[in-house]
């Protein structure tokens, strides 16, 4: 029943390694992009606030599948972004990361915004009384405290991101779900085993993330 694991026809570990890479690159990108978006949404420039709000509302309501397929059809095929890669395989991977960052960034932004709201008003007032400008208030005083209070929500976003990497299968990125689809079609007698192994893989990826970051969130939370 588990011959598919040893037959050498399927590179299961390789596929999960792609899943892990997709997750890691997208996580870093989403964190940066989400922070920028959150910065825009609380900035003193009305137009930036408007852009941030519009972006978040539109992207959150778009299926990730459309964003990733759109990045292939629009960004790559029509606008010609190759993202510095030559082989289709690498281009597909980078496009998937880009799509995941564009989508996940909105969730990071919203988590961060609720974190900013937990920082007592006095902190910002004190900072302004010292003569700090908006950028200084945000980066030196508010964000460091906000981040510490949103570790748990961000952990949820990271777990969700791990699962969302499977959408990259829609543009042929050879990650775990893509491999699984090939496996269930070719090894129909091992359907349950294939599902079990892939599901186990995802449980192994998401469970430690949740536990570790849950522990971290308790450690770093600001006691008030």
């Amino acid at each position: 029943m588990f011959e598919f694991l040893t037959s050498g026809r399927y590179d299961l570990l390789g596929a999960f390694w792609v899943t892990v890479q997709l997750t890691l690159y997208s996580a870093v990108g989403s964190l940066v992009w989400g922070t920028l978006l959150a910065g825009m949404r609380v900035s003193p420039v009305p137009l930036m606030r408007g852009f941030g709000t519009a972006y978040v509302n539109v992207v959150r309501n778009t299926p990730l599948t459309i964003i990733i397929v759109g990045s292939l059809l629009g960004l790559y095929q029509t606008l010609g972004f190759e993202l510095g890669a030559e082989r289709s395989e690498d281009i597909g991977f980078r496009l998937a990361v880009l799509g995941l960052v564009a989508y996940t960034g909105t969730f990071v932004c919203e988590a961060l915004r609720s974190g900013i709201n937990t920082v007592p008003v006095g902190q910002a007032e004190a900072a302004r009384a010292l003569g700090l400008g908006f950028t200084q208030v945000l980066t030196l005083i508010i964000l460091p405290q906000a981040f510490r209070s949103v570790v748990a929500p961000l952990a949820n976003v990271l777990i969700a991101l791990t699962k969302n990497t499977t959408v990259a299968a829609a543009i042929g990125v050879a990650e775990a779900a893509y491999l699984m689809k090939n496996m269930v079609e070719n090894e129909s007698d091992a359907l349950f085993a294939v599902f079990g192994v892939v599901a186990l893989g995802f449980v192994l990826l998401t469970l430690p993330t949740g536990l570790l970051l849950g522990w971290v969130s308790k450690r770093v939370a600001v006691k008030r």
Binding site: L72, Q77, T78, S88, A170, G172, K181
Partner: protein, 275 residues
């Protein structure tokens, strides 16, 4: 009690949705005597396509209509059913359709589950390239070129494994994605049966933009799939196909659907699948 009212409304709406959708499923299987159900492709321009009018058009469709007419079913007694590649054997053996005419190559593996009539068309695996691209004239030219195919297709795998191991293979969800890439030069070639490729190249919006490389990488004999052991139907369909060839309808249908693509199609093949 506004809250109560809101919850009730939501519950009622949910129930309505359930009832509405519950009734949507099922439906008749079209097995009643005076109608014939035929499996075709719904998404292949030139072969089997559901149009914006809800009608069906293409070479396979014309063949299916002709055969149905010869079997005694006029146009309005034909019901077309979508037969995606992976489903064709199931549809036939479950009796959901009387026969399938949908880019259905006759192979020994398939003959274990269904019988064929025909063949009625000889296609080859080929490449579709941009009209102004002269760099791809043989399969080995694909090395270091970007080759596109759709998920579940074996043709691209054949090229990569046997002919051009250095080809940069990209697997996308549908032909429309590959064509968009071909047009915008992020894909150099698209591979599958030449009949399918010709169908796309013959589309009004694509005319003059693409050409077939004419490589004949394989032989694909399109047959009409029918229930295993139904020798009577097989004989009748073969007779209908013979007639279609002899009275010129075959030639006319091929010209109409593949003509604009400059596709050098093979002459009508001899019937080989006989009881």
């Amino acid at each position: 009690m506004k809250l109560r009212r809101i919850s009730t409304a939501v519950a009622a709406a949910a129930t309505l949705a359930l009832v509405a959708t519950g009734c949507g499923g099922g439906g008749d299987k079209g097995k009643d005597g005076d109608k014939i159900v035929i499996g075709i492709k719904f998404d292949q321009p030139g072969l089997g396509l559901k149009t914006q009018d809800g009608k069906y058009t293409g070479f396979d469709v014309d063949v299916a209509r002709y055969v149905a007419k010869e079997l005694g079913y006029p146009e309005d007694k034909i019901e077309f059913k979508q037969a995606p590649s992976a489903e064709r054997e199931n549809l036939i053996s479950n009796g959901d359709v009387k026969f399938v005419a949908g880019t259905y190559s006759i192979t020994d593996k398939r003959k274990a589950r269904v019988d064929f009539a025909g063949p009625y068309f000889l296609a080859h695996q080929d490449l579709l390239v941009r009209a102004d691209d002269t760099s791809i004239t043989k399969a080995t030219d694909l090395n270091n070129k970007k080759l596109c195919s759709v998920t579940g297709s074996t043709s691209a795998q054949n090229v990569k494994e046997k002919l051009a191991p250095e080809a940069d293979l990209q697997t996308l969800g549908g032909y429309s994605e590959c064509l968009n890439g071909l047009q915008n030069k992020t894909v150099d070639a698209l591979t599958t049966d030449d009949s399918i490729l010709a169908g796309y190249a013959a589309q009004k919006e694509h005319q003059g933009k693409f050409k077939l490389a004419g490589l004949k990488l394989s032989d694909e004999n399109y047959g009409i799939g029918l229930k295993k052991g139904d020798k009577d139907l097989q004989g009748k369909i073969n007779k209908a196909l013979e007639k279609m060839k002899s009275d010129g309808s075959w030639e006319k249908a091929v010209k109409e659907h593949f003509g604009p693509a400059n596709y050098k199609y093979e002459p009508a093949p001899e019937i080989t699948e006989k009881g």
